[in-house]
């Protein structure tokens, strides 16, 4: 460099540069309520937050419960207004606290001391008065290929028997271990200073959907010439949709999944000589967007920091 400031560590890695606008704390997004509650299997909540920023902030999550998985699910932008949906595992409402960081903008902050670094145009790139992001560690993490604790669901049909039009009675035969408590990959991080205020930035990119299929057929009377043939059918699907999420323990980043929605379809049918035909649908169309796979499953960086500095 011809001029300016570089601060490197003992390994020569760049920490502060007059050519790079560092991230600084810009506020805590406002929690507005629960958007979605899903109480089957591991369960989940989708919490909504709002924030105003002319830039695209990086969002950190300070977990409300260290035993639960969290991740930023969606980043909605309208002008300078941001809406974030954050997923959390479990069947109780425990919204986390969010912290937002953006590249420096605006004029000098107040305060008469500290370290101010500017680029060649006089724009601030680092200002100790505006709470620069101090990263504890970065790990690259990817969730397991299959979200359910029971593994990938078989594509063959199960036979749930015939239960007339009581569609709910077909479901038990189609169940699977759709929980997602144990399906995670674990990564250690530099945790020498760990405390309960540790937070992480890790969006949910990967999605997964798995389903079980059911079919039943039997005939009453088909082998008895004195009885009218009566055909009994059932078709059913039970699917669960997952989003990637993370748990931050005192020693590990766990990259796993949150079950957030289920899809269910059942149709029973009896056919014979009229007027004994009957048909009943237990629900609307199945509607699962895809199945038996995960998508967007890539190694993504998890940024770890200590929120103590930004409270």
């Amino acid at each position: 460099m011809a001029y300016g400031l570089h601060i490197t560590n003992t390994s020569g890695d760049l920490l502060v540069s007059s050519d790079i606008k560092s991230y600084h704390y810009v506020g805590s997004p406002t929690y507005t309520g629960v958007q979605l509650r899903y109480n089957n299997y591991t369960g989940s909540r989708v919490y909504r937050y709002t924030f105003t920023d002319s830039q695209t902030p990086l969002i950190f999550i300070k977990p409300a419960d260290a035993n639960k998985f969290y991740a930023v699910l969606t980043h909605f932008k309208s002008g300078n207004n941001w809406t974030y949906d954050v997923i959390g595992s479990g069947t109780t409402d425990q919204p986390p606290t969010l912290y937002a960081f953006s590249a420096l903008s605006g004029s000098n902050s107040s305060g008469g001391y500290g370290l101010l670094v500017q680029d060649s145009s006089g724009n601030r790139t680092f200002d100790s008065r505006d709470k620069p992001l101090a990263i504890v560690d970065i790990v690259s993490a990817i969730p397991p290929q299959h979200a359910p604790d029971g593994g990938i669901t078989p594509t063959s049909n199960v036979d749930p028997g015939f239960h007339e039009c009581t569609i709910s009675n077909y479901r038990s035969a189609m169940e699977w271990d759709f929980t997602s408590e144990d399906s995670h990959n674990d990564y250690s991080y530099s945790n020498s200073g760990h405390n309960s205020n540790y937070m992480f930035a890790a969006p949910s990119i990967a999605q997964a959907a798995y389903q079980r299929n059911a079919f039943h057929y039997h005939c009453d009377g088909c082998s008895n010439w004195v009885q009218a043939d009566q055909h009994h059918y059932f078709w059913g699907n039970l699917g669960v949709f997952y989003r990637q999420a993370y748990k931050l323990t005192s020693t590990q980043v766990q990259a796993g999944w949150c079950s957030m929605k289920e899809y269910w379809y059942g149709k029973a049918q009896k056919t014979s000589w009229a007027p004994w035909n009957s048909e009943c649908d237990g629900s609307q169309a199945f509607g699962i967007p895809f199945s038996q796979k995960s998508i967007n499953r890539v190694s993504n960086s998890v940024i770890i920091a200590d929120s103590t500095n930004y409270v």
């Binding site: 460099m1 570089h6 601060i7 490197t8 560590n9 003992t10 390994s11 020569g12 890695d13 760049l14 920490l15 502060v16 540069s17 050519d19 790079i20 560092s22 989708v46 695209t56 990086l58 930023v72 699910l73 969606t74 980043h75 909605f76 932008k77 949906d85 590249a103 305060g111 500290g114 370290l115 100790s128 709470k131 620069p132 992001l133 101090a134 990263i135 504890v136 560690d137 970065i138 690259s140 530099s190 200073g193 930035a201 890790a202 969006p203 990119i205 999605q207 989003r243 957030m260 929605k261 967007p289 895809f290 998508i295 967007n296 890539v298 993504n300 960086s301 940024i303 770890i304 500095n309």
Partner: protein, 99 residues
């Protein structure tokens, strides 16, 4: 500390210590849906390991097969490549870190 830089807040508490900082923000860019984009990292030779984080902007959470861009890094250039068709491809934000 024998050497390095420590920054303290007005209470005297150290919040930035070059001996323990575990990484640094290097830049960010947006790759629009169905379009590729790239970003050149300043002073990439001073970074041992480059990390990227991606998230999608304005994607729906459950109702579509939403695909983020795939990311590659070569010679200090981060490239985001769109995936899928026009209804699947999403706007992707790429955040770059080093340590």
């Amino acid at each position: 500390m024998a050497y390095g830089i420590q920054l303290k807040n007005s209470s005297g508490t150290t919040f930035f210590d070059s001996t323990v900082i575990g990484g640094n923000f290097l830049g960010t860019f947006t790759a629009n849906a169905s379009n590729n984009a790239s970003f050149t990292i300043p002073h990439a030779t001073l970074i041992t390991t480059i990390y990227t984080q991606i998230f999608m902007i304005n994607d729906l959470p459950t109702d579509q097969e939403a695909l983020a861009h795939t990311i590659s890094v070569s010679s200090g250039v981060v490239t985001a490549t769109a995936q899928g068709n026009s209804s699947q491809s999403q706007t992707t934000q790429v955040v770059i870190f080093g340590k």
